[in-house]
Symmetry: C2
Subunit: 82 residues, 2 copies
C-alpha cells in the first residue's frame, strides 16, 4: 500500500531565520503589518510503499535523518496519510 507522508523541515527555533526575516520585511512593505513573525522551511511529500503506517513513518524518519534534514540547523516533523 502507498502512504503519503508529509515532512516539515524547519530551522531550529533558537536560530535566526534570515529568509523569514526578509519575507517579514517584504510583507511589511506590502502593508501586511499584522504579520509579526515568519519562519520558512521545507515541506516534503513522500509516496512510500509500506506494509503499515508505522513502517511508512519509520522509513520517513530514516530519510529525514539521513538526507532531508540537517540536525545542526533544522528539526523535522512527520505526519502520515494513507
Amino acid at each position: 500500500m502507498t502512504y503519503t507522508v508529509h515532512i516539515n523541515v524547519m530551522p531550529l527555533k533558537e536560530l535566526l531565520d534570515p529568509q523569514g526575516k526578509a519575507v517579514l520585511s517584504g510583507l511589511g512593505n506590502l502593508g501586511l503589518n499584522a504579520v509579526e513573525d515568519v519562519r520558512i522551511g521545507k515541506h516534503i511529500t513522500l509516496q512510500i510503499n509500506a506494509g503499515s503506517e508505522k513502517e511508512a513513518r519509520q522509513i520517513a524518519e530514516e530519510a529525514s535523518r539521513k538526507l532531508l534534514a540537517n540536525p545542526v540547523m533544522e528539526y523535522f516533523e512527520i505526519s502520515v496519510k494513507n
Copy 2:
C-alpha cells in the same frame, strides 16, 4: 490575539519537480527504495495578530498571493491554529 498560520507552497502537480527527483535518486542510493515519489516545496509559519481566525486566514491568503507563492509554478494550502 496571535494566530499561528501554516502555509505549504508546493510545485503544481502537473509540473516536474527536479529537486524532488534529485532527492528520490539520493534516497535510492541510500537503500530507501520504498520511496516512490518525492515533491519538495516550502513550509512557511506566520505569526499573525488578528481579531479572528477568519481574519488571520485572509491575511495569510493575501500574503501567499502577493509574495509567497508564484501561481505560474506553485499552489498553496493554508491552515490556522490559535
